[in-house]
């Protein structure tokens, strides 16, 4: 399952507006108040609501740039939820790479499908703090998520059987067994 990222626009704090040398004093005050408001909104994570989803390639390629920022990341939960008590690990694969997400175990309680050969895992969208080298987890690149939601439920993948290949295999196998027996008898 491939879920492509939507680009690299994010919920990073807005920069301070450039100084307006020509403008009157109240305008400067307005800019400062507006900037402070934007910063506070960004800091409490509300801005992520408007943000696009990061791709794993964006995060890995520009890990230094996004280190410590709040990000939204979406991917298929693969293989296992690794329960470590109050918190758990889940790896989310967006089609290019999988990234480890560390979050409260309660947030993953509804995750039922985990991607493997027979299963398409639940697609989770997480919001959290991105670390290029997490000091809490031995320097791993990870996301500490504070919100997790299932955007697409997983399902069992029906196995497609190639009947032609199955029949050819059976014939070939019988043929080889017969050949070996004949050859052994002759020698």
């Amino acid at each position: 399952m491939r879920i492509k990222g939507q680009g690299s626009r994010v919920s990073r704090p807005a920069g301070i507006a450039g100084r307006d040398r020509q403008g009157p004093g109240w305008m400067k005050l307005g800019i400062i108040i507006f900037s402070a408001l934007i910063l506070s909104i960004a800091d409490c994570g509300l801005l992520t609501c408007w943000a696009d989803v990061f791709s794993s390639n964006d995060l890995i390629k520009d890990a230094k740039k996004w280190d410590g920022y709040k990000v939204t990341y979406r991917g298929e939960a693969v293989a296992a939820v690794m329960d470590r008590g109050a918190f758990s690990w889940v790896n989310l694969n967006d089609g290019d790479n999988a990234i480890g997400v560390w979050c409260s175990s309660k947030l993953l309680a509804k995750t039922k499908f985990l991607g493997d050969y027979k299963t398409a895992g639940d697609v989770l969208e997480v919001e959290g703090k991105f670390h290029r080298a997490c000091p809490m987890h031995g320097g791993d690149l990870d996301i500490h998520a504070y919100s997790v939601r299932i955007v697409k439920s997983g399902y069992r993948i029906p196995e497609e059987i190639d009947t032609l290949r199955a029949n050819v295999s059976a014939v070939l196998f019988l043929l080889i067994i017969a050949s070996v027996i004949i050859f052994k008898k002759r020698t």
Binding site: I60, A80, M82, K118, G139, L141, E160, A166
Partner: protein
């Protein structure tokens, strides 16, 4: 009367019987690979994976058919001489690569047959570079096969086929040397091969249990923990580097799992003769052996270079993360394993050029001879260093004095020119091969640092990647890396003999 004959004049043209002997034994090895496909077939049945089971039945049938056709067409009762053994060793690895790639290709996880051949050679050569797509959805049978061929390659596929599946002949065991396993730990090769298997199986049990316990404590359910632990053990012990998940060892987010795999990597890179010494109570050997002392010096130097480079980038906030990441990757590189807990792009973007250089040096040197590692190897580095020291000393002592340089490798040996020549030739061959791959990478437009990193990783059978090895990489570069992995694993001699045989076919004397 002695006569002097030029080398070229002594090359005899191989006749039909020579080719029949080679074809016959090559066929036996191919049959051996076909029989070994029963293992993933059983895994497929065990996990109720129907389509993979069909893939293995199909591949096994084709492989057995090819093998039997070859043995029948080249039927002979002649035994192998050294030239035949070398040719069989080198051709068998190509043959095994080709047939083992079949089920991988049928899995649908590879873009082309070339990609699955790359994966197969990477497995047999215990490299660990991968071109698999969507690895997280690969069936257990196919995933097990990737790791199993790594285990077989590490132990030596030709030796396995001939010791376990067929009655070995005296000549057949000359192939043992052709697979770069030229040391006799015990008086004869059969006993040596059996000892290697005994050591490997004992560690397989201990290592798998240790990894599985760690994985279960880390939150994996027992079935998945057991499957992954067997796979990770096989790849770590044989210093391969494949893992069942796309994130490599990072998937587990488990420090103890990383440390256990680090110990297994280290044990896998140690000479089996040293394992024998330790098993028989001769623990002093561990402190006196030239390979261990060379390893200590080498790891101290490359760790300093890498740590300096990583520290300069200020990536890690605390000492534990910094030392953990640096040391893990350095041991992974030095032992030729290629396990990683960072993404390939992070080597380039986060670790920087100096740290990458340290890793390249570690990969280029490698582990011990008579282990499962590739690269130049510690014994040769130690011998060359001792020879250099001896030459410098000679310049500083009176002309009339005689200087004797000894080395300790299982027993005390006087360092002779033949030892130095042999080590220097292999060193030269590796440097040339590293360079060829680097130039090839640069011709395809990659920067020097990245091209050299990937080239050394392929030749030294390491498997760390800085991002070049991906399914969309140029086909020409895939072929170059396949040849590098093949040559690096067999340590050139068998391939050079095969080349000489082909040359003699056209230019040799009747």
């Amino acid at each position: 009367m002695l006569s002097v004959v030029e080398g070229d004049q002594m090359i005899l043209r191989p006749d039909l019987d020579d080719y029949k002997i080679i074809g016959h034994y090559l066929g036996k090895v191919v049959i051996g690979v076909g029989i070994l496909m029963l293992v993933p077939l059983a895994i497929a049945f065990g996990y109720s994976e129907t389509q993979p089971a069909i893939d293995y039945l199909f591949s096994m049938s084709i492989t057995l058919m090819l093998g039997y056709l070859l043995t029948i067409a080249c039927h002979t009762k002649e035994d192998l001489n050294t030239m035949h053994a070398m040719a069989v060793a080198s051709l068998a690895w190509l043959g095994a690569m080709f047939v083992s790639a079949m089920p991988l290709y049928l899995s649908g996880h590879y873009n082309s047959y070339l990609d699955s051949c790359f994966e197969s050679m990477s497995g047999y050569a215990t490299t660990g570079l991968t071109l698999a797509n969507n690895l997280d959805h690969m069936s257990n049978a196919h995933n097990f096969w990737r790791h199993f061929i790594m285990f077989l390659g590490g132990q030596g596929i030709v030796v396995i086929a001939l010791t376990f599946l067929f009655k070995g002949t005296a000549g057949a065991f000359k192939i043992y040397a052709g697979e770069a396993r030229d040391e006799k730990i015990l008086p004869n090769v059969i006993e040596t091969a059996r000892f290697i298997w005994l050591v490997s199986l004992v560690y397989l049990v201990i290592g798998t249990v240790a990894l599985a316990v760690s994985a279960v404590i880390g939150g994996l359910e027992p079935g998945k923990a057991m499957f992954d632990s067997i796979c990770v053990f096989m790849a770590a012990w044989d210093t391969g580097g494949f893992t069942p998940q796309s994130q490599n060892i990072l998937f587990y987010h488990n420090f103890s799992f990383e440390m256990i795999s680090l110990v297994i990597m280290f044990l896998g890179s140690i000479n089996f003769a040293l394992h024998y010494a330790a098993w028989t109570g001769n623990r002093r050997e561990l402190f006196r052996n030239i390979e261990i002392s060379t390893f200590s010096v080498s790891i101290a130097i490359v760790l300093s270079i890498t740590a300096w480079g990583v520290a300069a980038q200020k990536v890690y906030a605390n000492g534990t993360s910094f030392f953990g990441k640096t040391f893990f990757h350095l041991v992974s590189a030095h032992t030729g394993t290629g396990y990683s807990t960072i993404y390939p792009a992070q080597f380039v973007n986060e670790w920087g050029q100096l740290a990458m250089t340290g890793i390249v040096f570690a990969m280029a040197i490698g582990g011990s001879v008579c282990s499962t590692t590739g690269a130049i190897k510690l014994l040769r580095m130690g011998v060359i260093f001792k020879a250099l020291r001896q030459d410098i000393k000679k310049l500083m002592i009176p002309d009339t004095a005689v200087l004797v340089q000894t080395i300790h490798h299982i027993k005390d040996l006087i360092l002779e020119d033949k030892h130095v020549r042999s080590a220097a030739l292999i060193l030269l061959a590796y440097i040339v091969t590293y360079s060829i791959g680097t130039v090839a990478g640069m011709l395809y437009g990659y920067p020097l640092s990245e091209a050299s990193f990937e080239s050394v990783s392929a030749t030294a059978n390491v498997g760390l990647s800085c991002g070049i090895t991906i399914p969309s990489m140029p086909n020409g570069l895939k072929i170059v890396y396949i040849l590098q992995m093949w040559a690096g694993r067999l340590e050139f001699m068998a391939i050079l003999v095969l080349g000489a045989m082909i040359f003699a076919t056209f230019r040799g004397k009747r």
